[in-house]
C-alpha cells in the first residue's frame, strides 16, 4: 500500500522504525520483565525529535499533527507498546494545553513537551469515575489567587515520571459534568503525591499510578480553559488522541503479524514449513487484511482530524474501536501460529497479546466507543428525516 506520505512524514516513519528495531525491540522483553520505566529509550526518542512531531513550530515543534503522531506511535508499538504508550501519553497530556491553554501556558509548557525534556500526563480517571468520567470526586476550591485540590486520581499513565499533569477536578460537585474543570499541575507541587504503582497484565514498562492531592495549592493561572469546561476539554482531547491508541493497536498487530509470518516460514512440521499448510496460510492472510484495513482507517481518520474537520468524535471512535479489536484478534492468532512456543515468555508474541488487550480498554472502552458511534449514527438518521 502507498499512503502517499510527504518527505517529512517518510523521515518521521523511517526514523521511528529505526529506533523501534535497533533500540527498543532488543530490550522489550527485559523491560516487560522488570517493569522499569524505560527512561533511556524515552531519551533516545526525545533526542530524535519524535516528541516534537505534532507540536506547532512556534512552540518548538515540527508543525505536524495527529497523523504524524500516529506514524511514530505505530512504529514504536511494533517493537514495544509500553514504550509507545509512554510516548503517546505525553501527547495526551500535551494536547489539552495546546488546544485550550492561554498563550502563556503554551509558551511555558509546549516547548518542554516538544523537546521531550519533560513528559506530560492526563489525569481524568478515578476509582468511581471510569467510563462515567463526569462522576469525578476530586475537588478544586478557589482560594484567592489559588485553587486547592483534594482527591485521588487512578491509573494515570506516566504517573510519577511526568512533570506536567493535566488534572480534572470539580469546582462544584452538585453540577456534575458542568462542574468539571481542568488544571495544569506540576510535579513537586506541595500536596501532590504519587500513590500505588499498578502491576499490569501488559504494557508493563509503562508507569501507571495514583495521583494523590491533599490540600494541594496551585496558582489560579494554572486553570486550563474556564471553570466548568473540564468535561468538554477532556472529550475534545480524547477525540484527538483516540487515533493514537488506534495507531498503537495497528503497530502491535503489525509486530505480531511480522513475527507470525517469519515463524510460519521457518518452522517445519510433517516435513513442510507450517506456512505451507492452508490452515496457517489463511490465518496469515486474514491477519494481513485486517491490519491493512485498520491502518487505512486510522490514517484516514488522522488526516481528517488534521484537515480541521470540526466533528470528529464518531470517526475517532470508529478508528479506535476497529483497530483495537484487530490488534486483539491478530495477536491471539499470532500466539496460535506459534503454538506452544507462542505461549512461552521466551518468545515475543504472548507479550503482544497482553499488550493488545489494553487498547480495547483505555481512552474509553470499546463498549463506550460503540455507544458514541451508535448514538452518532442515530442522530444522523434523525437529522435526515
Amino acid at each position: 500500500m502507498n499512503y502517499f506520505l510527504t518527505e517529512e512524514q517518510e523521515i518521521i516513519k523511517e526514523l521511528s522504525a529505526k529506533i523501534a528495531d535497533e533500540k527498543i525491540a532488543p530490550r522489550a522483553a527485559e523491560f516487560d520483565e522488570s517493569e522499569e520505566f524505560p527512561w533511556d529509550l524515552i531519551r533516545v526518542i526525545a533526542d530524535a525529535d519524535l516528541f516534537a512531531v505534532w507540536v506547532p513550530e512556534e512552540y518548538g515543534g515540527l508543525g505536524g499533527g495527529v497523523f504524524e503522531q500516529c506514524l511514530v506511535v505505530e512504529e514504536l508499538s511494533r517493537a514495544c507498546a509500553a514504550v509507545a504508550v509512554s510516548y503517546a501519553a505525553s501527547g495526551l497530556g500535551g494536547f489539552p494545553i495546546l488546544m485550550f491553554g492561554t498563550e502563556e501556558q503554551k509558551q511555558k509548557y509546549m516547548p518542554e513537551i516538544a523537546s521531550g525534556s519533560k513528559l506530560a500526563a492526563f489525569a481524568l480517571t478515578e476509582p468511581d469515575a471510569g467510563s462515567d468520567a463526569g462522576n469525578i470526586r476530586t475537588t478544586a476550591v478557589r482560594d484567592g489567587d489559588f485553587y486547592v485540590l483534594n482527591g485521588t486520581k487512578q491509573w494515570i499513565t506516566n504517573g510519577g515520571e511526568a512533570d506536567i499533569y493535566v488534572v480534572f477536578a470539580t469546582v462544584d460537585p452538585e453540577k456534575g459534568q458542568r462542574g468539571m474543570t481542568a488544571f495544569i499541575v506540576e510535579k513537586g507541587t506541595p500536596g501532590f503525591d504519587f500513590g500505588k504503582k499498578e502491576k499490569k497484565m501488559g504494557i508493563r514498562a509503562s508507569s501507571t499510578t495514583e495521583l494523590i492531592f491533599k490540600d494541594c495549592r496551585i496558582p489560579a493561572e494554572n486553570l486550563l480553559g474556564r471553570e466548568g469546561k473540564g468535561f468538554l476539554i477532556a472529550m475534545r482531547t480524547l477525540d484527538k488522541t483516540r487515533p493514537g491508541v488506534a495507531a498503537q493497536a495497528v503497530g502491535i498487530a503489525q509486530g505480531a503479524l511480522d513475527k507470525a509470518a517469519e515463524y510460519a516460514s521457518t518452522r517445519v512440521q510433517f516435513g513442510k514449513r507450517i506456512g505451507e499448510f492452508q490452515a496457517v496460510e489463511h490465518m496469515l492472510a486474514d491477519m494481513a487484511t485486517q491490519v491493512e484495513a485498520a491502518r487505512s482507517l486510522v490514517y484516514s481518520v488522522a488526516r481528517t482530524i488534521d484537515a480541521g474537520e470540526p466533528n470528529i468524535t464518531k470517526a475517532s471512535s470508529i478508528a479506535k474501536l476497529f483497530a483495537s479489536d484487530v490488534a486483539m484478534k491478530v495477536t491471539c492468532d499470532a500466539v496460535q501460529i506459534f503454538g506452544g512456543y507462542g505461549y512461552m515468555r521466551d518468545y515475543p508474541v504472548e507479550k503482544m497479546m497482553r499488550d493488545a488487550k489494553i487498547t480495547q480498554i483505555y481512552e474509553g472502552t470499546n463498549q463506550i466507543q460503540r455507544s458514541i458511534i451508535g448514538s452518532a449514527v442515530l442522530k444522523e438518521a434523525a437529522r435526515r428525516k
Binding site: E7, E8, I11, I12, L15, K18, I19, E22, K23, V44, D47, A48, D49, L50, A52, V53, L62
Partner: protein
C-alpha cells in the same frame, strides 16, 4: 577542536559477490550504507566536538552517489561534508585513496584530529587510515577503544591489543582509527535529517585538490589483485595444562617427545 572523519560508502551486506573475471566486488543491485566502523568514528568525533567545541568535517571519496552517505553524517550532526569525486579517481587502491584523502585534508584550513573506522567492511584492508597519516606526515594510532583525554595539544587513548590495551599519548594533529568499543553511535534526529536533506555538499575534483595525476586513480594504484580465495582454516593452538610452571614444562617435554620433535 577541528575533527575530520573519513567516510566510506560500502555495499549493505557482508555477503558480497565477487566478479571472478576482474576479482572486484559486484556492486550492482546492492544498496549502500556508511561503513559501520565509520559510524563509530563519527560518533567519537561528535563527542569530541560536544565536549571541546569546534567542528566536525566528513570527507568521502567516491562516485556522486556517495553523497547519500555524507548526508547521513550531516543528519547525525556533522557540520560539513566534502565529497571527492572525479573520473580521475576511479580505480584507486588504498595507496591512491589515502593520497587523495590526504590532499583533501591538507586543503582544509586547520585540523586537530582525523578519525577513521578501523577498516571498511568491503575491502577489510585497514590501510587507508594509516596511509593518510603517512601522507600528512602526522602520527597515527590504530584500533583505539577509548579516547581518555584531549588537552594541551595532546591526546591520550587506549589502543586495543589481543589481550590487553596500551595507553598511548600523542601530540596533535593525529590520526586515529577506532573500534566499536568507542561507544554506540547516536540516532539521527528529524530536524537533523531535514537539515541534511537541504544541505549543500561541497564536491572537490582532481583539479580542486591539485593532485599529481600519476598518483590518483588507476595510474596511482600499484595494487594488482591476482587471486581471491578463502584462506584455509588453521586449527587453534593447544594449551598445555599443569598445576605449576614446572609441571607444564614437563608435560610440554613429554608431548614434544611423543611427537618425535625432540
Amino acid at each position: 577542536m577541528n575533527v575530520v572523519v573519513l567516510i566510506k560508502q560500502v555495499p549493505e551486506t557482508t555477503d558480497v559477490k565477487i566478479d571472478r573475471k576482474t576479482n572486484t566486488l559486484v556492486r550492482e543491485g546492492v544498496s549502500s550504507i556508511v561503513n559501520p566502523f565509520d559510524m563509530y568514528a563519527l560518533e567519537q568525533a561528535l563527542r569530541i566536538r560536544d565536549q571541546h567545541g569546534g567542528k566536525v568535517t566528513c570527507i568521502s571519496m567516491g562516485p556522486p552517489q556517495a553523497e547519500a552517505a555524507l548526508r547521513e553524517t550531516l543528519a547525525l550532526g556533522a557540520d560539513e561534508a566534502i565529497l571527492l569525486s572525479d573520473q580521475a579517481f576511479r580505480g584507486s587502491d588504498t595507496l591512491a585513496t589515502s593520497y587523495t584523502l590526504a590532499k583533501a585534508i591538507s586543503k582544509l584550513s586547520e585540523f586537530d584530529i582525523v578519525i577513521c573506522g578501523k577498516q571498511a567492511i568491503d575491502g577489510d584492508t585497514a590501510q587507508v587510515g594509516p596511509g593518510v597519516a603517512e601522507h600528512l606526515d602526522i602520527p597515527h594510532i590504530t584500533y583505539v577503544s577509548k579516547v581518555e583525554e584531549i588537552s594541551d595539544g595532546h591526546i591520550r587513548v587506549r589502543r586495543m591489543s589481543e589481550e590487553s590495551y596500551d595507553v598511548i599519548m600523542s601530540p596533535l594533529p593525529v590520526l586515529i582509527t577506532v573500534l566499536k568499543e568507542i561507544g554506540e553511535p547516536r540516532m539521527p534526529s528529524i530536524k537533523g535529517t531535514l537539515r541534511a536533506r537541504k544541505a549543500r555538499i561541497t564536491v572537490w575534483t582532481a583539479s580542486d585538490l591539485e593532485v599529481d595525476d600519476e598518483m590518483v586513480g588507476l595510474s596511482g594504484s600499484p595494487t594488482q589483485v591476482v587471486e581471491i580465495f578463502s584462506p584455509e582454516i588453521r586449527p587453534g593452538g593447544e594449551i598445555i595444562e599443569g598445576d605449576s610452571a614446572q609441571e607444564k614444562a614437563r608435560n610440554l617435554l613429554i608431548r614434544l617427545k611423543e611427537d618425535h620433535l625432540l
